[in-house]
Each structure stands twice: as structure tokens, then as C-alpha cells.
Amino acid sequence: MLNNSTLIPLMVVLPLIMAILVNFLHQKDKSVKFISIVSLIVFVFIPVVTLYGVHLFSGHLRTGSFPEVSKILIPEVYMGIVYSYGAVQKILMVVLTILTGFSVLAVINKKMISGVYMAMIFISLAASSAIILADDIFNFFVFTEILVVAQAALVIAVQEAKSFKAAFKYMIFGTISGASILLGIALLLGSYGLLNITDLSHAIQAGGALTPIGLVAVALLTLGWLYESGLFPFHIIKSNIYENARPEISALLQVQSKFVLVAMALILFRVFSGYALLKSVILGFAIFTVVIGSVMALQQVELRKLLSFVAVSQAGLVAVGFGLGTPFGIAAGIFHAINDVLSMAILFFIASFVYDKFKTTKLDELGEGLQVVPLVGFVMLLATLAISGVPPFNSYQSEWRLIQASAQAGVPELGILVILLSVATFVAIIKAFYMIFMKPGSKVEVNKEVRGNLTKAIIVILILACLLIGLFPNMVYDPIYNFVVSLGV
């Protein structure tokens, strides 16, 4: 019934090995460049060719029922770590590896090659992959901690006072979040004696109503989820991280954060599927994130900051899908996560290009960019339409499904929220577009040496991907929906 594919763990192990290798090759730029490019091709290739299945690092799969789960006995405990690979994991892994590849290529193109820097990118890739694949809640926790350190390191690499402060704040709050997740795991382990997510889900369902200890565990894990996903009240910390990293790295960080959001929300729903209040709590925090994120985005006059808040508010929209709690809503949320990371990546790559070309991303200093880089301006306009949910782009398909799911779940008011977010996002980004490309009276000098052909190629490829998914949404959406239905959440 289950394929024990050996390729599944390679998605985590290989980036880790490559991270160690490029770290040792620090200052040997040509070797680092060669290994990075070859590795990325392999990283993209593996998820594509890997079949759906489960990988057991040791032990056995529990298949029996859970008549009695209150005692902790060694033979009752399933000890092996499990990675599971289904349709959602495959789509997330393909998107993650491709966007990591684009970020790495942009870094290499800017002659910012450093063994340590590449190592951090690869570690963050390995951690995100493990989070997506893990069917073991402690393994999930370990890699969320690794991801926090790797992301902080990528921000630190900017070597500016602001980036040090952003990384410090991120790590301090990461400590609280990590402790919260681990305490939640400890309580579940104490109550049920299990760490495997599938087993836990069966055990909790067999045990009936959640115990008070179980309720505390839900609260702690939800707190951790809010932080890792950058949702309210941690939206400022996350947007600070996006803002202070190099824009091409921010494109990668927002992908990782949104995929962690999806992976952890799926875990919460699988483990605590019978706990109705969880949906309301998630929905509440999601709505706050959407509203606050979009209002703050509208106020910004710095492109990177603006995009950071847009990214956060869009993460709120993904969480709205989960908050609806229906298979349709959850599938629409996951679909929106995929669409949104593509559109946001385009905008961050455009910010990267603008920064290189004009040496600033302050909107009041920029202007008349359309005469200098008409292609980038045109693609930014398309990306604005894409992220605002305008047809025929991809986000239209996911936002439309979110509105339908809201109506189906008996909360059509949320549909209005989705539309309002789209309008706010459009206004915020079109303002940036006007100020960069059309506003007369530029105060910046154009760096004519920067051609940015690679960045241009990346943004054109990504906008074509957005268009393709927008025209053929079922290609991505149907496997997601079937996967969510099969989980029975």
C-alpha cells in the first residue's frame, strides 16, 4: 500500500550535505558557484521524480487501533521518524526548490557568492523541506528551530545595524515560539505517549474529547504556529525580517514562511480535527493579520517595507482558508499559498532589480523608471494584477475559491474581506508602481552598468507561471483538494 521511496529523505539530506560542503569551500568562489548550480538542478529534479509514499527511518508503521492510550509503555510507542510525501508535499517542494534556485541564481549573478551564505540558503531549504515532509511532531519542531537560525543568518548577512536588530528580535521571539511548540509536544507526549502525527491523530480521536492538558497543548502549538507563519501578533517581526534581508532572499523567506504556515496548519488540523474552537481561533488571528497587514502596507513609502506587509497580509488570507475549516476552504488556502508565493517572489525580485539599478527603494526618491526599464515596469504592472486577484492570473482562481468556500461555510462576510484585501493590495502596489515608474522628478541616479538580464528572465518566467496556473488552475488545485479530502480533516 505504501511506497517506501528512498528519494524522499534525500530532499532533506542532500541540501544538508551540500550546505556542509559549500561551507568548507568558503572563499573558493568558483567551486561554490559550480556546486550550488549543480545542487539546485538536483534539488528541483528529486521532488519531480519522487513517487508519493512514506519513508520510515526505522521501526514500523502503526496500523492498529488505539483502544487504550493513557499509559506510556515502551512497546506502545512508535519510535521511528516518518516522512510522508503526497500531492500537496510534491507541489510545495517543487515550488520551494524552484524559487530557492531563482534566489541562488540571483545571488550568484550579483557576485555575492560566499560558501557560508550559500550554506545558510541550503540549510533553510533542508529545514523547510523537512517541515513539509515530517510526519513526526518532534522532527517538525527541530527543523522549525533550524529554520529560524538559518533565516536569521540570512538577514545578518546584510551586515547593517538594522538587519542585526531584526535578526535579534526574530531569534528572541523564536525562543518563545520554540519553547511553546516544544512544551505543547511534551504535553502531548505525556498524555498519549506518541510523537508520530498520524498516530497522535488516531489516538486523540479514539480518546474522545480533549483533556485540559490537550487544550493547553493546542494553545501552545497554535502560538508557535502564529510566530512561524508571521501571523498577528507576530506580523511585525516577520515583516521586519523580509524588509531587512536582501530582496532576492526575502523572496525565498516569504516562500518558506508560507509553506511552514501550510505544513503546521495541516498538522494542527490532523491532530486536533475534532476540536471546533481551533478553527475559530485560527480565523480570528487570520482576519486580524489580513486587516492589519493591508492597512500597514497602504501606509508605507519604502518598497521593501510595503512588500513585506503585503506578504504578511497575504499569509493572513492563506490562514483564512484554514480558519474556514472545510476541505474546500483548506484546499483554497493551500492553493492561495502557492499562488501568492509566486506573485510575491516576482515583486521581491523587482525590488531587488530596482535597488540595484537605482541604489534605493525609497518611493519618494524614485520616479520615471518606465523610461529606463520599461520591461520591468510592465511586468510589475502584471504582477500587481496577479497578486490582487485579477483574472486571468493565478491569485484570482484561489481568491475566488476562498470566497466560494466562505459562502459554503456559512460566513459570506469573509468573501467581502477577501475582496477588500485585493483592493487594498492593488492600491498599495499600484501606488509603488506609479512612484517608481511614472512619477515625474526622479531624485536618483541610474546605475547603467546594471543590466539585470537574469533578474528580468526570472520575473518573466514567474509571471508566465502565474498566467499558466491562472488559465489551468485545476492542474494544481485538483490534487490539493483530493489530498485534503483524503486527510479527512
Binding site: I172, A186, L189
Partner: protein, 134 residues
């Protein structure tokens, strides 16, 4: 639950609350980092206490057992089922070990950041470092 376990859980609670208080309320960057470390220690203590079984065996310190042991290796001592139901629960100890390693890495990065921030601002006051930020 044994009094020992109650005491342990209470100590863990005190550690976590003290750590949170230091992290959120104290101005000194090093005290914040120490607070973060205390929270981790508190959670580790919770995990260790969960694994405690009053009067149980501790497989790790019994010289009869080693990593490659199979149930037959100690069949002369106990039936496997009996051993399993009397041994302390070793999985939380493994988790604690992993968490200590993660905690050490996180701590070292935070300390390195504290050094860099101190060199830039010549103060340990977080309030002064973050002054003027929106």
C-alpha cells in the same frame, strides 16, 4: 503523580515564568538572552519529568544494557514486557538531548548578535539600541 514530579513541574514553571519575565521586561540584552535560555531549561525539565517513572529502571545507566542489546540480551533479568512496563521512559531524554543542542546553537547566535550590537551601539540597553525604530 509523585511529590518529586510535582516539585519538578513547579520548578519548570518557575523557570519558564522567570525566563519570560526576563525576556519581555528586562532592558539588558544579556539578561534577555539568559531569560531565553531559562525558558528552554524549563521546557527540558518538563520533558525529563514526563519520562520519570517512580521506582522504575533507568535503561541508560544499567550496565547490562547497551545500544545493540536485544530483548534476548536481558531475558535472564526480566521478561521484555515486564522490563518495558517498569523502565523509565527514555524517549523524552532523547528529545531533551536534541533540544539542548538546538538551544546551544541558538544561544551562541544570540550572543554573537549581542556582541555585534554592543560594538555598534556601545550599550547593553535594548531600549537604547532600538531607539527611534517604528
Amino acid at each position: 503523580m509523585e511529590p518529586f514530579q510535582v516539585g519538578s513541574f513547579l520548578t519548570a514553571g518557575v523557570l519558564i515564568v522567570t525566563g519570560l519575565w526576563a525576556l519581555l521586561m528586562m532592558d539588558n540584552i544579556l539578561k534577555k538572552i539568559i531569560g531565553a535560555n531559562l525558558i528552554g531549561d524549563g521546557v527540558n525539565l518538563v520533558l525529563i519529568t514526563i519520562g520519570y517513572r517512580p521506582g522504575g529502571f533507568i535503561p541508560e545507566v544499567m550496565h547490562h544494557f547497551h545500544a545493540t542489546a536485544t530483548p534476548s540480551s536481558y531475558s535472564h533479568l526480566l521478561e521484555f514486557g515486564e522490563f518495558a512496563s517498569n523502565a523509565s521512559y527514555s524517549l523524552p531524554f532523547a528529545l531533551v538531548l536534541t533540544n539542548i543542542v538546538i538551544g546551544a546553537s541558538t544561544l551562541s547566535v544570540m550572543l554573537a548578535l549581542a556582541v555585534v550590537l554592543y560594538n555598534k551601539y556601545h550599550t547593553l540597553s535594548v531600549h537604547k539600541m532600538f531607539e527611534g525604530e517604528d
